[in-house]
């Protein structure tokens, strides 16, 4: 009798745990960008295919970065999947904090991931995060305002041309600003933009011996140019504008030009969200003739923190969200212009996608970005809008706060750069680089 009951109990337990193993609830931390919001709308498709349900934690970019970093370093275990980027993935992968994404199915076709993206999301040749979308940065501009100003956008303009065009397009009485750029403090917000711009001005953050170079003439030229151009033609309060704030301004028809992530192209050309959808043109990010365009390389990618008990379900989700099938699902429902871009080679070989107005410029921008050689002069770090060292996020956030204060006129460019120089030197000295 006792044995019978024990057997029954064991069977019931096995059934319950078996069912649990089949259907899990996974928690995903992600950023509040448009493509991720869209992905959440398709969660039912994933649940129907696998039985797993998903809980979303959607956060603003700066907040997401802090939350997931804290969770991974403290082994908090709050998330089964984290949305991270090219900065975090190699560092966390090297520390053994992420589950390697090996053994992905043949249909997933891991070799189809754009080499630039796969390289940035790997450590020692092992992929630790799968790109949900990849991006560089480029110029998005109003063709109607350009025409009105009597100008024609070159394929690869100089900063001087951009400044002149911005001034010509500015119409303060009608709230049209010639150019909208990120000034918001945060290493991944305004900090990422200004660093990319500085690369094109021949500046670098460190020399080969890890001496900070923020007191150089090239950095002063970059910041002075930026501040002068934005005072002439930027929107009021640009020192607090990041990606989402500028996207909103552009969609409202309040920007003549916007230099930012290529992924924004689908949002500014979507007539449901953008009042200027039918008059947007694209060009490569500007340069100063020194051989470097001001464009970065980034991927928002999905990774599984080591230690999660739901790694299998998490891997299934990543396969679903970053697959060719997902891209086709979005294309079927919302058109090819709205699929997550920049992650897969096959997307750019698809004739239907090639017809999308920004497809080729996005690919050109991605292919021209070289994280191994980001600056005119040699540097000891990898990364274009960041240096891939663990200390970067901390000290570059502080540096970008000093820059934002200069944008707002609270201090001079020279004062901001002097403080930035001290902050950067202090950070690398404390970390033992020199």
């Amino acid at each position: 009798m006792y044995l019978k009951n024990a057997l029954r109990a064991a069977t019931a337990f096995a059934l319950v745990t078996g069912a649990a193993a089949q259907a899990e609830t996974i928690t995903i931390a992600t950023v509040n960008n448009g493509d991720m919001i869209r992905m959440q709308g398709y969660t039912d498709d994933f649940t129907a295919k696998t039985g797993h349900t998903v809980e979303w934690v959607t956060l603003e970019e700066n907040v997401l970065r802090q939350r997931v970093t804290t969770d991974i370093t403290t082994k908090g275990g709050q998330f089964d999947i984290m949305t991270i980027g090219m900065y975090e993935t190699p560092i966390w992968g090297a520390n053994g904090w992420l589950v390697p994404l090996d053994g992905l199915s043949a249909e997933y076709d891991v070799d189809d991931i754009l080499p630039a993206m796969a390289a940035g999301l790997s450590h020692d040749g092992t992929l630790y995060a799968a790109p949900f979308y990849g991006e560089s940065s480029m110029i998005m501009y109003r063709t109607d305002l350009m025409e009105k100003a009597g100008l024609e956008m070159p394929d690869s303009p100089t900063w001087e041309f951009i400044r002149e065009a911005a001034a010509a397009m500015t119409d303060r009485a009608n709230e049209v600003n010639g150019i909208c750029l990120r000034g918001k403090a945060g290493w991944g917000e305004g900090g990422a933009f200004i660093n990319t711009m500085a690369n094109s001005f021949g500046a670098r953050v460190f020399d080969e011996d890890w001496n900070a170079q923020l007191d150089s003439e090239a950095w002063a030229n970059t910041l002075n140019f930026f501040v002068e151009m934005m005072s002439e033609s930027g929107p009021p309060g640009y020192a607090t504008n990041g990606f989402n704030e500028n996207l909103s301004l552009f969609q409202q028809g309040k920007c003549g030009m916007w230099i930012d992530a290529t992924v924004a192209a689908s949002f500014v050309t979507n007539p449901n969200d953008s009042t200027v959808a039918d008059s947007v043109g694209f060009a490569l990010a500007p340069n100063t003739g020194l051989g470097k365009n001001a464009n970065w390389l980034w991927a928002w990618a999905l990774a599984i923190p080591a230690g999660t008990a739901k790694a299998d379900a998490a891997k299934q989700f990543i396969e679903w969200a970053t697959s060719k099938e997902y891209i086709e699902l979005v294309a079927a429902n919302e058109g090819w212009a709205n699929v997550p871009p920049g992650a897969r080679t096959s997307l750019y070989e698809n004739p239907e996608y090639q017809a999308v107005p920004f497809a080729q410029k996005t690919l050109d921008s991605i292919l021209s970005a070289d994280p191994q050689n980001p600056t005119v002069d040699p540097v000891p770090y990898v990364g274009i809008q960041f240096a891939a060292i663990p200390e970067w996020a901390g000290f570059w956030t502080e540096v970008s706060q000093e820059f934002s204060a200069a944008y707002a006129g609270q201090q001079t460019v020279e004062e901001a750069l002097a403080k930035a120089q001290a902050i950067a030197n202090e950070a690398v000295e404390a970390a033992g680089y020199k």
């Binding site: 700066n62 802090q66 970093t69 804290t70 370093t73 403290t74 560092i91 520390n95 709230e175 918001k184 403090a185 945060g186 929107p235 009021p236 309060g237 020192a239 607090t240 909103s248 301004l249 309040k254 663990p390 200390e391 996020a393 901390g394 000290f395 956030t397 502080e398 970008s400 706060q401 934002s404 204060a405 944008y407 707002a408 006129g409 609270q410 403080k419 001290a422 902050i423 202090e426 950070a427 404390a430 970390a431």
Partner: protein, 288 residues
């Protein structure tokens, strides 16, 4: 009268709660102290051993330390000045008999129930946005150039947002105090020919002194740790980095737990100095 046995029984029954509360306080405090003496860099392999007082020295010698202390004090003093002055005025106004008094009182108290992050987001996006905010429309309507509140006037803006949140608290405490004022005393003064301002300074204000001290004490303790409003609105830029924000940056953004913990210990010391100072004033007031 309590017997020896009943006193022991009471102690026994209270013990679990006391132990729990002590643990609740002591564990984080001891951990902060422990980490403050260690090189603890989660992104660089974690705990790397003892470092003596290095973290303490680095934290105070950092160029960000004194500006952060100064910013903290400016915010605390600014908010206290606004909430106490306006609180007294509002309390006196609300004490007057008026139509719809109940509704007005609820409306005045309402901001206190809004979460700090929510109120900061509403102020930032709906009121202070230089393009789409209500203030910018108002400014343009009168032909003026909109102000970029959160970058050009970041500190006054934050003081305004925080004051808006704490004004109801001050008003509520002060209103209760005003209502306990003996109206005969005021009437007598009025009959003796004392003008309104003199009645206020010589009768109402002295009567409110104890309530004002309590408002200052409680608000100071909370305002020293102000964080959410700054995080949401300026992200610590434009000279708004307080001591608690600096500690957050050291621990979470720079991932230097040791350095941030040393900052935490400084913050505890500062808060205690302020609290002891204020408690002495309260004590003096209570004696009087």
């Amino acid at each position: 009268m309590a017997t020896k046995a009943s006193r022991s029984a009471a102690r026994m029954m209270m013990a679990p709660a006391v132990v729990l509360l002590l643990g609740w306080m002591l564990v984080p405090l001891i951990m902060t102290l422990w980490f403050s003496f260690r090189t603890y860099l989660p992104l660089r392999g974690g705990d790397q051993g003892w470092t003596g007082f290095d973290n303490y020295v680095r934290f105070v010698t950092s160029s960000a330390f004194w500006p952060a202390v100064q910013t903290t004090l400016v915010i605390v003093i600014g908010v206290l000045a606004i909430t106490v002055v306006l609180g007294v005025l509002l309390a006196m106004l609300l004490d007057q008999p008026m139509w719809g008094q109940g509704v007005v009182r609820i409306l005045v108290i309402a901001p206190f129930f809004v979460m700090p992050t929510v109120s900061a987001l509403v102020w930032k996006n709906m009121f202070m946005d230089p393009v789409n905010g209500l203030f910018s429309h108002l400014w343009r309507f009168f032909g003026a150039e909109p102000v970029s509140w959160l970058s050009d006037a970041a500190m006054p803006s934050i003081i305004m947002i925080v004051s808006w949140q704490w004004l109801p608290f001050a008003t509520l405490i002060l209103l209760t105090a005003i209502q306990s004022l003996d109206s005969e005393q005021l009437e007598a003064a009025e009959m003796d020919g004392a003008p309104p301002l003199k009645r206020f300074f010589f009768i109402v204000l002295p009567h409110l002194s104890r309530a004002i001290t309590i408002v200052i004490l409680i608000q100071t303790i909370f305002l020293l740790a102000i964080f959410a409003e700054i995080f949401v609105t300026t992200g610590g830029a434009f000279g708004t980095r307080t001591l608690s924000y600096l500690i957050f940056q050291r621990v979470l953004e720079s991932q230097n737990v040791g350095l941030g913990s040393a900052g935490g210990v400084y913050a505890i010391i500062l808060a205690n100095i302020v609290a002891i100072f204020l408690m002495r004033i309260v004590g003096k007031n209570l004696d009087n």
